[in-house]
């Protein structure tokens, strides 16, 4: 059902844990729906220097969280903002169809964290170019 990469990220999640000194946190999902993803980012000169996650959810939710931290680190805010759900799924060598829509929230979490950071620094997504 799950690809090897999903299982790998589920079993050994990268960048897992709270980031005490995060510059922004993106919170998505809802526990009553069974998925809650928090993405923490640290930003310097509009580059994401550190990223971590905490996730309540199924294996797919955990693996996509782990994956997004891996592909985000070192990217500019602009680059990171362009990462989509599909990118995450592709990097995981696919997700079961039913999981594509419900547990693949990590890109949304990242986008929300970036928006939060921009808000804090008095900007909006429009200002990224």
């Amino acid at each position: 059902m799950y690809s090897k990469t999903v299982i790998d990220h589920f079993t050994n999640p990268r960048n897992m844990g709270e980031m005490k000194d995060a510059d922004a946190i993106g919170k998505v999902g809802n526990p009553t729906c069974g998925d809650l993803i928090w993405i923490y980012i640290k930003v310097k000169d509009d580059v994401i220097t550190d990223v971590s996650f905490k996730t309540f959810g199924c294996a797919a939710a955990i693996a996509t969280s782990s994956m997004i931290t891996e592909i985000t680190k070192g990217k500019t805010l602009k680059e990171a903002y362009q990462i989509t759900r599909t990118d995450v799924a592709e990097n995981l060598e696919g997700l079961p169809p039913i999981k594509m829509h419900c547990s693949n929230l990590s890109a949304d979490g990242l986008h929300k964290a970036i928006q939060e950071y921009l808000r804090k620094t008095g900007r909006t997504v429009e200002d990224l170019k």
């Binding site: 589920f10 897992m16 809802n30 009553t32 069974g34 809650l36 996730t55 294996a59 939710a61 955990i62």
Partner: protein, 403 residues
């Protein structure tokens, strides 16, 4: 595949070795169609007649009652509800079920409601026990059938079937009982309680998949769902699945023989399991009734984490378990049983459904109680939720998890 330990018997059971042995001749040697007059056909007819007796004896059927073999419990439940409703439409258009029923009951009641019938779904208490007062109240002069399960496969709760039967009998309304989860684990007796229709599944008795049976008391008339050659008393057409039926018969006989042992041994194992898990893991709770529960069932929820992730980690340790998490269902809806019992939706996602079986041992329980805590710990460390960050603070306005 490495050797797996099955704690998920309610989803699938390996066919018993003796049962498989009983079935074997019916694949290649006695391949006859029971409708054929020749010897090979008549051997099949005899074997099916024998299986009917074996199944009838498991549930205390009277000699003139009927055991109608079907393709499984879903078909038996459909036949009970559809077949009875259509046949007795003139008497009324109302049926009563409970909120704990299997989807093959609930969705069939829904289906019938589109065909001019009405149904009431009686609620349950926090342990999943049907509200018998509400049941009594739900009866109208249009009520033609009551269908209540004997026990729930998911949370293990056993219904007070004697009381329910009494209510039905007093109101002179036939009672259908879905005994899929209970048969072979606790005594089931149609004659003692005056049950008119009863559903059984072969695989839950360690028989083959793809077979089930609907028991009907002799005076109960049904309209067929499947029409054709008129097999199974004219109520269920289709060439008989001879090997499957033979297997179900053998499984029923074995289940009857082993019933007492099963109850004692499984109850012991189950209690070890529940005690071990609840003692070792904080914020873990038993779902279902503490004592009125199936001897093989432990349903336990773990706050702050999600069930599919637990399930997957357990599978790496060789344990096959199920979860009530929405994530593993086709509809992505959380378990309707837990919801009916008032378990919070977020908490329902963290429930493990553990169903033991014949081949489980004390060593399995010990190993489980050992491997589970680090898994729970690992997932909780990953979760943004905790005692300090409870579910509620993330609730959207439109969600209300206190059902």
């Amino acid at each position: 595949m490495t050797k797996q330990i099955n704690f998920n018997h309610s989803a699938g059971v390996p066919v018993d070795e003796q049962v498989l042995k009983a079935m074997k001749p019916y694949f290649r040697q006695y391949y006859g169609n029971p409708s054929s007059v020749h010897a090979v056909g008549q051997q099949s007819a005899k074997a099916i007649a024998n299986a009917r007796v074996q199944v009838g004896q498991l549930i205390g059927a009277a000699p003139k009652d009927r055991v109608i073999f079907t393709s499984g419990a879903t078909e038996a439940n459909n036949l009970a509800l559809q077949g009875f409703a259509y046949r007795h439409r003139r008497k009324g258009n109302h049926i009563i079920i409970s909120k704990m029923e299997h989807l093959s009951i609930i969705n069939t009641a829904k289906f019938l409601s589109k065909q001019g019938f009405e149904y009431t779904q009686v609620g349950v208490d926090k342990h999943g026990i049907v509200d018998t007062k509400a049941l009594k109240k739900a009866i109208t002069d249009q009520t033609i059938l009551i269908s209540i399960q004997h026990a729930n496969n998911e949370v293990g709760t056993i219904q007070p079937i004697a009381d329910i039967a009494q209510i039905a009998n007093n109101a002179e309304i036939p009672l259908h009982v879905d005994a899929v989860a209970s048969a072979g684990l606790i005594p089931v007796n149609v004659s003692e309680h005056g049950i008119s229709l009863l559903t059984l599944s072969s695989n839950d008795l360690y028989g083959p998949k793809g077979v089930g049976a609907l028991y009907t008391r002799k005076e109960v008339a049904l309209q067929p769902i499947l029409t054709g050659g008129g097999q199974e008393y004219g109520i269920r057409s289709g060439s008989e699945n001879v090997s499957g039926i033979v297997g179900m018969g053998a499984a029923a006989e074995l289940a009857k023989e082993q019933l007492a042992d099963n109850v004692t041994r499984l109850t012991w194992l189950r209690d070890q399991l529940i005690k071990g898990v609840l003692e070792k893991i904080d914020d873990s709770y038993l779902n279902g009734h503490p004592t009125q529960r199936l001897p093989n069932n432990a349903n336990i929820r773990f706050s702050y984490i999600e069930g599919e992730a637990i399930t997957l980690h357990l599978s790496f340790q060789g344990f096959l378990v199920a979860t009530s998490s929405a994530c593993t269902s086709k509809t992505l809806a959380p378990s309707h049983c837990l919801m009916s019992m008032g378990v919070a939706e977020a908490e329902a996602h963290g429930a493990l459904q553990l169903t033991l079986g014949r081949e489980n041992t004390q060593a399995h329980i010990d190993k489980f109680v050992e491997v589970l805590p680090p898994i729970i710990e690992k997932l909780r460390a990953m979760s943004p939720l905790s005692k300090d960050v409870p579910y509620d603070i993330f609730e959207d306005e439109e969600h209300d998890h206190h059902h």
